[in-house]
Amino acid sequence: MSPGKPPDEFVPGIATDLDPEGLPKPPDDRALGTTSDLEEPAQEPGGPTTDDFEAGDGDPAGSVEPEFEVALAGEGHSAAMQAESEIIGAEAYGEWLPEAEVIQARGTWTEVWRRFRKDKFAVGGLVIIVLLVVVAVFAPWIAPHNPLTQYDSGLSAKGQPLPPSSHFWLGTDLLGRDLLSRLIYGARVSLVIGILANGFALFLGVIFGILAGYFRGGLETFIMRATDVMLAFPIFLLAIALSSSISHPGIWVLVVVIGIVYWAPMTRVIHGEVLSIREKEFVTAARLTGCTNRRILTNHILPHLVAPIIVYTSLGIATTVLLEASLSYIGLGVQPPTPSWGQMIADGQQYYTSAIWLTLFPGLCIMITVLAFNLVGDGLRDAFDPQQRRR
């Protein structure tokens, strides 16, 4: 079977193969061996907990990436399977009781989601992130005002910003612009930078980490000493130096700057993971059966890096959002008039006695966003926790 071939292609063949007497298929596709008398009825602990998520996982969606494992749900099957094959296995290979159907394993994702769901804080974080993304994507439709328009009605008679009111829900800023609309557009900046910059850091980190961890040798020494140097550098100073050396900082510059700054920790994480995976026996086995390095990397090592990558990315986005806000705060980030939370705090800070909303709301936005990503990151880390899984 080739890895590219979806396993569900097997199912019809097997069903016809092994159902010569036209045994009826059980309604639940995970019910095992209804024809097997070795099995006691009413086990199947995982069965009744079937939920809509895993129903979706059973069909092509789950088969496109057939490389994820489960820990809990399979135990009902494996116990029965074990009984079956270890009684029969020793003497009569090949004489098999017909099994009703090939059972699709529940994927890792299902399992991770099951554990993730139990963590209320993490789910809360996820909800916040989803809301943020929706708000950012649909900003033009959600924002009550144009974020760049300086409304005459947005300033008091003395030219002061207005506090929250029914017209400007979160008040206005020093130039009479609607604060809520600016926050909504600011979410775009924060998320775009957070995600892209992390993606960039991730890209560099995975490449360097794999090169160093898998191929070892002088290359490893070089890359890892370089990351040590990077990690020894004060990250914020480096970011300031990089962005101030560019005359017109903008979103893309920030993405590259933050990516360059954050590749080192990512490299280190990936390097460590690769080091431990490459010594596993299944990698040795792959090498022995003639797999090329490329195949070992893509089929045997990368799938095991997915968990740490996801966890560290979600945690990294939180850090990145903070760094972007900090850089914008000191004027090296997103340039006006594009709204950015950090820059809004910087603009409003002199007026915190008279117009607290100018700093309070952007500050809350940053805090909530960072908190949400951290909660999700922690939740994912727990959900992926290898301690809970048999590898």
């Binding site: 097997f10 199912v11 994820f68 489960v70 020793a90 026996e281 086995a285 059966t289 003639g290 048999r390």
Partner: protein
């Protein structure tokens, strides 16, 4: 000093006994001990395998026994070129594997496979059975695409796994079943030679005999040659045609199965065999197993002369601690590395009746179902 002599003896032994499949000559694997932060200096070496020469004959099972840390597994890995050789040669059907690189090595490896100790670590948990067993077929293009699935099922059936489970993941199987899957993967490339690296040590006792029987059946069906690494002496006795005993990176004795178990010549082998428990309380109470004094010396600084002289009850000062004994053919097909063993005599570290008791009982200890 002993390289020339050893080679000569193992060559003659091979010539007498049959067709040599794998010829191992002066095999050395040293792991460097380095120190230094920026510039790594080599300050020493762990001599995991220190000059092994032996032949594996076509169709036989060669057992390799020894204590933990004596270099058994490293030997197996080195033969398959999974460790970088510090010295020596591994000739597979006359081709020197250590010289092969890249694609040539990959093609040659098709003939040699390995069965691993830990069935939980040896299967990729992110791949289905179909992909695990099918990957070797894909890599070596052994079957056209449309026949691969059928072949995978055939292989699974061969090792006693329900072929309907190809879409399942390894964690859904028990240790014994996983080991069977690992065997199916090894068989996928149609190898001649399989290194079994303690294939049953991690399994439940109840499953061990099944796996052993499976291995034997596969050997008969496909004419496989096994290098069977284990520390369980009774299992090795059961499955092996010849047995090699290792101590601290070297082979101390190599002989046909029954000869080695019935009349071990090397003092270390005698001590090792006396440690096999006897499942008979009466005998167990009477017998006095030879307890060797001290610990195994560090392979980073093995003792001069015979590696075993520090613990050998029969060691002679001025000889054993100075001179490194070569592996000599004392009797036809019986190789021993000991100065004190001659064609007529050898150091007996236990009385004859004690030996007899052990020998008789060790046979009982062999796994059930061995008669098949």
């Amino acid at each position: 000093m002993s390289a020339a002599a050893t080679t000569a003896t193992s060559a003659t032994a091979a010539g007498r006994n049959g067709d040599v499949l794998v010829h191992i000559e002066g095999l050395k694997v040293h792991f460097p001990i380095t120190s230094g932060v920026v510039v790594q200096r080599k300050v020493g070496a762990v001599r995991a395998v220190d000059g092994l020469s032996f032949d594996v004959l076509r169709g036989e099972t060669l057992g390799l026994v020894g204590e933990s840390g004596c270099g058994k597994s490293t030997t197996g890995r080195a033969i398959l070129q999974l460790e970088k050789l510090t010295g020596g040669h591994v000739l597979y059907e006359g081709a020197d594997l250590a010289r092969l690189r890249g694609g040539a090595l990959r093609r040659q490896r098709r003939r040699m496979q390995m069965i691993f100790q830990d069935p939980y670590a040896s299967l990729n948990g992110r791949m289905t059975l179909g992909r695990i067993v099918g990957e070797p077929l894909l890599v070596h293009k052994l079957r056209p695409r449309n026949e691969r699935e059928g072949r995978v099922k055939e292989l699974l059936k061969l090792v006693g796994i329900n072929p309907n489970t190809i879409n399942r993941y390894p964690h859904e199987f028990s240790g014994g079943q996983r080991q069977r899957i690992g065997i199916a993967r090894a068989l996928a490339v149609e190898p001649n030679f399989i290194v079994c690296d303690e294939p049953i040590s991690a399994l439940d006792v109840s499953i061990r005999a099944q796996i052993i029987n499976l291995l034997q059946e596969l050997q008969r069906t496909f004419g496989l040659t096994y290098l069977f690494i284990a520390h369980d002496l009774s299992v090795v006795r059961h499955i092996s045609d010849r047995v090699a005993v290792m101590y601290l990176g070297r082979i101390v004795e190599l002989a046909v199965n029954h000869e080695l178990y019935e009349e071990p010549l090397h003092p270390y082998t005698q001590a090792l065999l006396s440690a096999v428990p006897i499942p008979d309380p009466a005998v167990e109470e009477r017998r006095r197993p030879v307890v060797l004094a001290g610990d195994v010396p560090s392979p980073a600084s093995p003792p001069p002369g015979c590696h075993f002289h520090t613990r050998c009850p029969a060691a002679q000062e001025g000889l054993c601690d100075v001179d490194d004994p070569a592996l000599r053919e004392i009797r036809p097909g019986h190789l021993v590395a000991c100065h004190l063993v001659t064609e007529t005599d050898y150091p007996r570290i236990r009385s004859a009746e004690e030996r007899a008791a052990t020998v008789g009982a060790a046979g009982v200890d062999a796994p059930e179902g061995g008669a098949s």
